[in-house]
């Protein structure tokens, strides 16, 4: 990163104060403030970790320890869209690796890499808790794209290239499907 002083805006500091108020110690806010920082900078490289440490008045070693423990923090700059492809257990059984290989093939990169234009990163991830809707992909720690097929993956990539994120998909319990549909129609 360029040599410049990183800082949080007043609005962000306000949000951080609200987070701190949930807990009896500032340390407890570490995970959440790392999230605030990642939202702002897109990653938590060492400079960003230092900013979090300074803001919470904690040792940088503590913040580094936390940032390096959890997988959702990006330790380096990533693509604009990070595709987390689940290949764990139910997703493995239902074609998670086919989805991963298709994405690798279409984007010309391997899991763990970023496209040259900086648009996409691809990662193979562990269970995301969408086992009944396998195979699936989570996009940049946000929305889940469920029940993927070859066509759906291509459509997803095309939409993302056009800057269009999929919307949150409610997976209604099948037991309730009929009456909920009847009531909302």
């Amino acid at each position: 990163m360029a040599e410049q002083e990183l800082h949080f805006t007043d609005e962000e500091l306000n949000e951080i104060e609200k987070i701190k108020a949930k807990f009896p110690t500032a340390k407890a806010a570490t995970l959440r403030v790392l999230w605030v920082a990642q939202k702002k900078y897109g990653h938590v490289e060492p400079e960003v970790q230092a900013l979090v440490a300074k803001t919470l008045d904690l040792p940088e070693s503590h913040v580094h320890g936390v940032a390096s423990f959890y997988t959702q923090y990006y330790k380096e700059e990533m693509g604009k869209f990070v595709l987390d492809v689940c290949t764990c257990l139910s997703c493995q059984l239902c074609g998670g690796y086919d989805v991963l290989h298709q994405i690798e093939d279409r984007l010309g990169i391997k899991a763990g890499e970023t496209t040259d234009d900086g648009l996409f990163s691809v990662q193979e991830v562990e269970c995301l808790g969408a086992c009944g809707y396998a195979p699936m992909v989570q996009i940049t720690n946000g929305v889940y794209a469920n029940n993927l097929t070859e066509e759906k993956v291509d459509k997803l990539l095309e939409n993302l290239k056009n800057g269009k994120m999929p919307e949150f998909e409610s997976m209604v319990m099948r037991q309730n499907e009929k009456r909920i549909k009847a009531a909302t129609e």
Binding site: R32, H62, G65, V66, Q72, E126, N176
Partner: protein, 429 residues
């Protein structure tokens, strides 16, 4: 009445549109249990609430199956220290995707259960910890919490009583181990999710060294049902030893995967064939992982007459876990399956204890060797040997959770593993 499951009406997630909104929840009897308790504190003393929940024997839905009310009774008498309820919504066991349904479709039932729990244990602060990947569900849940604050169900002097409690929602950032209860406490304190040595147990020394009880989201959602209808009624749902409604998450090679709510003790084959629509493509059932990745796999021939409750599954050679059922058809490659499970546990080991940090790594390495056709028969026995060196020798149960699938998948599908190994190394004649 498990036999009548076809006429069962869901209790945890009933089919009422917009039930996640507090007005709809109230119109359907919501917060009645909490009102009843706070309105008649003589009948519903803290002790009586705990006793009723204990008598109902709500078995913890996070995997361990421990009696919820009994757990509450481990809290020491109140003193001048803060007291915490930490609600575990980490839901990271592969094959498990049930609690997100509560956050999305019936969050107030869980909130009400958590409030009753807080009352029963004289708790002043509730934390709800959700896995970071579920950020969309966190946001939905926080809307429900806000509504409950506005309506005066959370906060100071709730419903004009002398009971006050706060509820804070927070989330992780990707780590299976934060579903382990003391790993979750460390994460709540803003640290790496390293499980703690027990004793001291969380009831004695939990969050910031203070008395803390940890319950799963689905477990707490059962509490208002018990208060409204009584322990005896609750005991009438399900089978002896394992009662109440259960959210079954069914995934893998079935026609209709998803989360379904039925009584505890459902016949396994009914769940697979009738509820989840049978095996995809008309294929044959090969195996089932009944309650998340760490519960021992069962062959199809081991499933005859087995039901989804702790006693029946124990007799069959497995465990209830989280009731996250992973179904496999006849084409499933058990070697590939087990390799991927060993990869998961290796990735998720927190690294504190040597038997787990090194053990999970070696399990994966040997599995890679076998998967690639370079294994020898003796490697299978090496794997089995390693599992005994991991189990029960670490701070938390992750090493056990990693060892069980290896032991049981190899012993129950040994021929498939041997077929992938080199036939023999030396000629013997």
């Amino acid at each position: 009445m498990v036999e009548d499951w076809k006429s069962y009406e869901p209790l945890l997630i009933p089919d009422i549109p917009n039930l996640h909104k507090i007005d709809v929840y109230e119109d359907n009897g919501g917060y009645e249990a909490f009102r009843t308790v706070l309105g008649d504190q003589d009948k519903w003393s803290r002790k009586n609430v705990t006793e009723e929940v204990k008598a109902a024997n709500i078995r913890g839905r996070g995997g361990a199956g421990f009696n919820c009310g009994l757990k509450w009774s481990f809290m020491p008498e109140p003193d001048d220290r803060p007291r915490y309820l930490a609600c575990n919504g980490d839901e990271s066991e592969p094959g498990t995707f049930k609690d997100r349904n509560i956050f999305e479709f019936n969050p107030h039932l869980f909130i009400e259960g958590a409030l009753i729990a807080a009352y029963a244990m004289s708790i002043d602060t509730i934390y709800v910890y959700v896995r970071g990947e579920y950020i969309d569900w966190v946001n939905k849940f926080e809307e429900a919490v806000e509504e409950a604050y506005e309506k005066g169900y959370i906060g100071n002097n709730i419903l004009d009583s002398d009971f006050s409690v706060d509820l804070h929602t927070t989330y992780g950032a990707g780590a299976y181990i934060c579903g382990e209860e003391t790993g979750m406490l460390e994460s709540l304190e803003g640290k790496r999710g390293y499980p703690r040595v027990k004793p001291p147990f969380p009831a004695q020394k939990g969050l910031w060294g203070n008395p803390t009880t940890i319950n799963n989201i689905e477990t707490l959602a059962n509490v208002p049902l018990v208060i409204n209808n009584g322990a005896e009624w609750y005991q009438s749902i399900g089978v002896e030893g394992h009662t109440g409604p259960v959210l079954y998450g069914i995934s893998g090679h079935v026609n209709k995967p998803g989360v379904y709510e039925y009584p505890a003790g459902m016949p396994v084959m009914d769940l697979i064939n009738d509820v989840a629509g049978g095996i995809r493509g008309g294929k044959k059932l090969k195996a089932l992982i009944p309650g998340g990745a760490s519960t021992p796999i069962l062959r199809a021939d081991q499933l005859e007459g087995v039901s989804m409750d702790s006693n029946s599954l124990r007799e069959a050679g497995s465990m209830m876990g989280t009731a996250g059922m992973v179904v496999m058809d006849e084409d499933t490659d058990m070697v590939d399956l087990l390799w991927r499970i060993t990869h998961f546990f290796h990735h998720e080991s927190c690294g504190q204890c040597t038997p787990c940090r090194d053990g999970t790594g070696w399990l994966e390495k040997v599995m890679v060797k076998i998967k690639n056709g370079n294994g020898e028969i003796k490697d299978l026995d090496l794997l089995l040997d390693m599992t005994t060196m991991m189990e029960g020798r670490t701070i938390c149960a992750l090493a056990d959770a990693a060892a069980w699938p290896v032991r049981h998948t190899i012993t129950r599908f040994r021929d498939e593993f041997e077929a992938r190994c080199k036939k023999s190394v030396h000629a013997v004649a």
